[in-house]
């Protein structure tokens, strides 16, 4: 549900510390931020968003790239790596979302949110989101949540409903497929966020053959992510 603008507002950009050797390409996923939206839920499956990623790479004539993302972006990047492993130099997965065993519960939450959006619009969604962000112990998570909720003020309820339905249909690739993904991977996770549980990050670290997991327990630890990411990208073959 986020966008580039909301990432900037949250001030937790792991991308900001990248050195001059790295050419950073960011975009708002379809239906998010300043990108166009469709109203078909299938368009928002992470596997479809992964096709968009390679579409962007093709448009920029980038043959082999390191890819990464936060939350839904992490899901998109992982699907993209499975789609085109030979084009993937490295993977940076931040705050991996619920997956596999924990996904059905999250999907139910998304579907309930869709009903709420369709019946009463985005107002209560923003209110409860803002309220929830104040109850979260991790200040980094709270900042991200608040910026996402502010972004919803400009969203179209139909697009939000379609994106939520698409998220409910989505999951990470099958764990068996990940075991064959021979790509250097950095996993950055945080504690205290049920939507981005540590269990997913740990399972990914176990399944992916070349994965390294870093877990942040506080805002200060999240704030060193740019350096961690920079050093990971600098060490890619």
């Amino acid at each position: 549900m986020g966008s580039m603008r909301q990432e900037e507002e949250a001030g937790l950009l792991p991308w900001t510390g990248l050195d001059e050797r790295t050419c950073l390409v960011r975009w708002d996923a379809r239906g998010h931020g300043a990108s166009e939206a469709t109203l078909r839920e299938e368009d928002y499956r992470w596997s479809e968003l992964a096709r968009d990623l390679w579409g962007v790479a093709d448009a920029l004539e980038l043959s082999r790239v390191a890819i990464g993302g936060i939350s839904m972006g992490a899901g998109t990047a992982l699907h993209a790596a499975v789609l085109e492993p030979q084009r993937t130099r490295g993977l940076a997965l931040m705050a991996p979302p619920t997956a596999w065993g924990t996904r059905p519960r999250q999907a139910r939450l998304y579907r309930s949110s869709v009903k709420l959006v369709e019946r009463v619009g985005l107002g209560p969604f923003r209110f409860f989101g803002a309220l929830g962000s104040r109850m979260v112990g991790n200040q980094g998570v709270a900042r991200v949540t608040r910026s996402v909720m502010r972004g919803l003020a400009h969203a179209d309820p139909r697009a939000v409903a379609a994106a939520l339905r698409g998220a409910a249909l989505s999951d990470l690739p099958d764990p068996e497929r990940l075991e064959g993904l021979d790509v250097p991977t950095l996993i950055l996770a945080w504690k205290g966020d049920a939507s981005h549980p540590l269990s997913t990050a740990e399972a990914l670290a176990t399944r992916l053959p070349k994965a390294r997991l870093e877990v942040a327990g506080s805002l200060a630890e999240i704030e060193v992510w740019p350096e961690t990411l920079n050093s990971f990208l600098g060490g890619l073959p």
């Binding site: 603008r5 708002d28 239906g31 931020g33 300043a34 990108s35 166009e36 939206a37 469709t38 109203l39 078909r40 368009d43 400009h154 969203a155 179209d156 139909r158 697009a159």
Partner: protein
């Protein structure tokens, strides 16, 4: 910076405002407005490599009024003549009344039109035909009888004051709307307004001459942009057009109204540029989705970028 000139068109001339460089795009304005309304979107179209040629339709802005009723066909005639003088077929962009006129041009001279961008196009209402038939009683000559020209100094001063509002500085559609007040102090413009409004109301919806039936025959690449908060064009028209023109791309700018959008004027301009880029994408072989596409709200984003700059 705009360039402007009178351009030859059939037995009259049309006033043309021109911005940018590149392949031609002809922009046709809504009822009562004129070509300067496109000054903002023209900057975005220039970035796409398009030269915007915004025409004042006959009787509006600086173009002279022509004899006879201002039917969509009569308004399209000088535009067709102008299109014939261009070095290559233009993209036609029309908003509201301009959309109806653009359709007429594409129906009559499809081989001379590169693509069609219809922004909240006026199409005859299919409901309440009796109500619209009452427009028969509207006589355009009334326009000349209203003594509004005596109020010209007051109307001009009011318009200048309104145009000076900082919020309207970059909102060219709103500024053109504000100027309608003193445009209507000109008897010829009033006559044109009444005549075009009357003919739009009487534009046949059904039958072989009805525009709805003719929509099926359009073969020009077409993008239709609808406004989510439009109070003038029925929302049902979007579904009906999609059914009759299944190959046309359908976009919606959800946060905008017909053409006065206050904080969201940038969203409409952005959407118009996105709609036009669809035509260029199609020429490069990119396929359109058959699904309706919502264009983004860029109100806060672009305003803050402008402030920062």
């Amino acid at each position: 910076m705009s360039r402007h000139d009178d351009v030859p068109a059939a037995e009259t001339s049309l006033y043309c405002n021109e911005w940018g460089s590149g392949d031609p795009l002809i922009a046709l304005h809504p009822l009562a407005l004129e070509s300067t309304a496109f000054a903002g979107v023209a900057t975005r179209l220039d970035r796409l490599g398009l030269r915007t040629l915004a025409l004042d339709l006959p009787g509006f802005g600086c173009s002279p009024l022509v004899e006879g009723p201002l039917t969509p066909a009569a308004l399209a005639e000088p535009v067709i003549e102008f299109v014939r003088t261009l070095e290559r077929p233009p993209i036609l962009m029309g908003m509201s009344l301009g959309g109806r006129v653009a359709l007429e041009v594409a129906l009559r001279e499809p081989e001379r039109v590169r693509g069609l961008v219809l922004v909240a196009p006026y199409l005859p209402w299919r409901k309440r035909p009796r109500l619209f038939r009452m427009a028969h009683h509207l006589d355009p000559a009334w326009g000349e009888r209203l003594p509004l020209e005596h109020a010209w100094p007051l109307l001009k001063r009011t318009t200048d004051l309104l145009e000076g509002i900082p919020a309207l500085e970059h909102d060219w559609f709103a500024r053109a709307c504000v100027r309608v007040a003193y445009y209507l102090s000109c008897p010829a413009t009033r006559t044109a307004f009444f005549s075009a409004a009357r003919e739009l109301a009487l534009d046949p919806s059904e039958g072989p001459e009805g525009v709805w039936a003719r929509l099926r025959t359009i073969r020009v690449p077409t993008v239709v942009l609808w406004a989510g908060r439009d109070r003038l064009i029925p929302h049902a028209h979007a579904d009906a057009v999609a059914e009759l023109m299944p190959d046309a791309a359908r976009l919606e700018v959800a946060c905008s109204g017909h053409f006065v959008n206050f904080l969201h004027f940038r969203c409409m301009e952005h959407a118009m540029a996105l709609a036009t880029s669809r035509i260029l994408d199609a020429e490069r072989g990119r396929e359109w989705t058959s699904q309706p596409v919502l264009t983004p709200c860029v109100a806060g984003r672009e305003a803050s970028a402008e402030t920062a700059a």
